[in-house]
């Protein structure tokens, strides 16, 4: 079943800041600025917003929340008819557009905003598990010394290297190609070129991962407005159709690297195989039809594993595939993270990938893929739900 019954009609973002440097701005101010910018771009008053479709349990990182009533109070939104969030964490970012679609198709809302705001002043996400009070389940994980997401994913990465012979050079290529894409982007936090020597000279944080395998630690807010295809026709921007959206995943992945019980083949994966199958099935397409892939890049090896799960190469072939130059904007067969991704532009828990997908489908991206007609956007890999989104070229 191909959808296209809803479309993204507005995007907005604040500046991006290194970790903690958005202070003394508040989460509500950052979020409000992004919402207002997205409304302005779409050509609708903020008072037209009547739906909120969040992910990550409507958290704003850890320790802060995104609260619909607070936004209504400060932005003067008169009435809301839908307010919901996907569960778990960043895995739901792309899928939150599907949550917005659910509201729109059900007739429960007319203009739905999806949002993330992040300010890492009080707590770095990178060491979050060491800072949280223990609970009975995390007590089977945290005492091992795996104190943050990168440490957890280094264990999956080790297994991928063992099972398939994947080399650190592949992870380096993810980092280097992302940096190359960020070089000409005014808002990118990291723009200076990254070389292979730079990569291998970086300190090891959690072997096999080094500093350059970790995404940036940044602050900022991003908002996206989704509405019905019919309403979208009358707005300021060319509407970007939602071709397919899906969230969820298989029990074999489950809580993933917070669990570590995955069967061997799933262990060394991104957990996205089930999402890929549903997205492609709904859209009636395959990986060959995707023109640009915006893959959630909290850690470089997870890009390699998503390329496998989404069928851009065979299982276990992600390393050589990436090393061949296949994901480069210049000369690659499937340009990946043309915005520089979370590794080089900014980390706003997946939202920048949605922005780039919209710009690519409008034909207005800084690093525009010529003639691009379909963009893949992903969320996660993390504890379920993980998610994905296929956007189509603006009419």
């Amino acid at each position: 079943m191909t959808t296209g019954d809803v479309a993204i009609v507005g995007i907005g973002a604040t500046d991006y800041y290194p970790r903690g440097e958005s202070y003394p701005r508040t989460i509500s101010e950052l979020a409000g600025e992004a919402i207002l910018a997205a409304c302005e771009e779409a050509g609708i008053p903020v008072t037209a917003i009547d739906g909120f479709a969040y992910y990550s349990g409507a958290s704003a990182g850890y320790g802060e929340t995104l609260d619909t009533a607070t936004f209504m109070e400060t932005l003067g939104i008169p009435e809301v008819t839908f307010s919901a969030a996907l569960t778990s964490g960043g895995g739901g970012s792309a899928g939150s557009i599907g949550l917005a679609r659910a509201a729109l198709v059900a007739g429960d809302a007319t203009y739905v905003v999806t949002l993330m705001a992040l300010q890492q002043k009080r707590q770095r996400l990178g060491s979050v598990f060491a800072a949280l009070a223990p609970d009975p389940i995390s007590s089977f994980l945290q005492p091992s010394g795996l104190y943050g997401p990168g440490q957890l994913m280094s264990v999956l990465t080790r297994r991928h290297m063992h099972d398939y012979g994947t080399r650190r050079e592949a992870f380096a290529e993810v980092a280097i190609s992302s940096r190359a894409n960020a070089a000409n982007r005014p808002k990118a936090i990291k723009r200076e070129a990254l070389t292979l020597d730079d990569y291998f000279a970086a300190r090891m944080i959690s072997e096999p991962l080094c500093l350059n395998d970790f995404c940036l630690e940044t602050d900022g807010a991003v908002a996206v407005i989704t509405t019905t295809a019919e309403r979208a026709r009358d707005l300021r921007q060319p509407a970007v159709p939602v071709v397919a959206a899906a969230h969820g995943g298989h029990r074999d992945w489950g809580r993933a690297f917070a669990w570590m019980g995955m069967p061997a083949e799933t262990f060394a994966s991104s957990g996205h195989a089930a999402i890929a199958a549903r997205l492609y099935g709904r859209a009636g397409i395959s990986a060959d039809d995707i023109d640009v892939a915006l893959l959630y890049d909290h850690f470089s090896p997870m890009v390699v594993m998503q390329l496998e799960d989404y069928g851009f190469c065979g299982k276990g072939e992600g390393g050589p595939f990436v090393e061949s130059g296949a994901i480069r904007y210049e000369g690659g067969s499937i340009p990946v993270n043309t915005h520089g991704g979370q590794l080089s532009e900014a980390y706003i828990v997946g939202m920048t990938h949605i922005l780039e997908g919209v710009e690519q489908m409008r034909g207005t991206a800084v690093n525009q893929v010529a003639g691009a007609e379909l963009a893949l956007v992903t969320g996660g890999p993390a504890s379920l739900p993980v998610s994905g989104l296929i956007l189509g070229a603006a009419a």
Binding site: P143, G145, Y147, Q151, R158, L209, W259
Partner: protein, 149 residues
């Protein structure tokens, strides 16, 4: 290559929480025993302990005492921990002998990280952590007599 050996986190840096479902694991560890919950109806092992058997949904559990032998399924070499800059940790995901399908995520200690490999046999030991509990940690297993590596 021989370098610094991996260690466990200091006892006062490791806090756990328990509930009625998980407490038998920690009570056994406090007494120097490694146990895992096995479904009393279908025999499926599970870790961490959860209320229901994922295979048959039974809530009946038998706590089986394990040999303490395990095999490294994967691992990380972690440089530093929040508040403990210079510490060298080797957290490992372990397949536990006698409890097929159940894994533990535990520190490897007293081992050169460069010598750790997937498939490495390890053996449990217990170290003190906060509040009077003990944590299972693992050391390289002695090779069986006459075995060659």
């Amino acid at each position: 290559m021989t370098g610094a050996l991996a260690v466990a986190l200091p006892a006062d840096a490791v806090h756990i929480a328990v509930n009625p479902v998980t407490e038998p694991f920690w009570e056994a560890a406090r007494n120097g025993r490694l146990v895992a919950p096995r479904c009393s109806d279908c025999g499926t092992y599970r870790l961490p302990p959860t209320p229901f058997c994922p295979t048959c949904t039974s809530k009946r559990v038998t706590w089986e005492e394990l040999s303490g032998s395990a095999t490294v399924f994967s691992f990380a070499v972690v440089h530093g921990y929040p508040g403990i800059e210079d510490i060298l940790l080797v957290p490992a995901v372990l397949d536990v002998e006698g409890a097929p399908g159940a894994r533990l995520v535990s520190p490897l200690v007293d081992v050169d990280p460069a010598a750790v490999h997937i498939g490495m046999p390890v053996q449990v030991a217990f170290v003190p952590i906060a509040d009077g509990w003990q944590l299972p940690v693992f050391r390289p297993a002695d090779p069986p007599a006459g075995a060659s590596r």
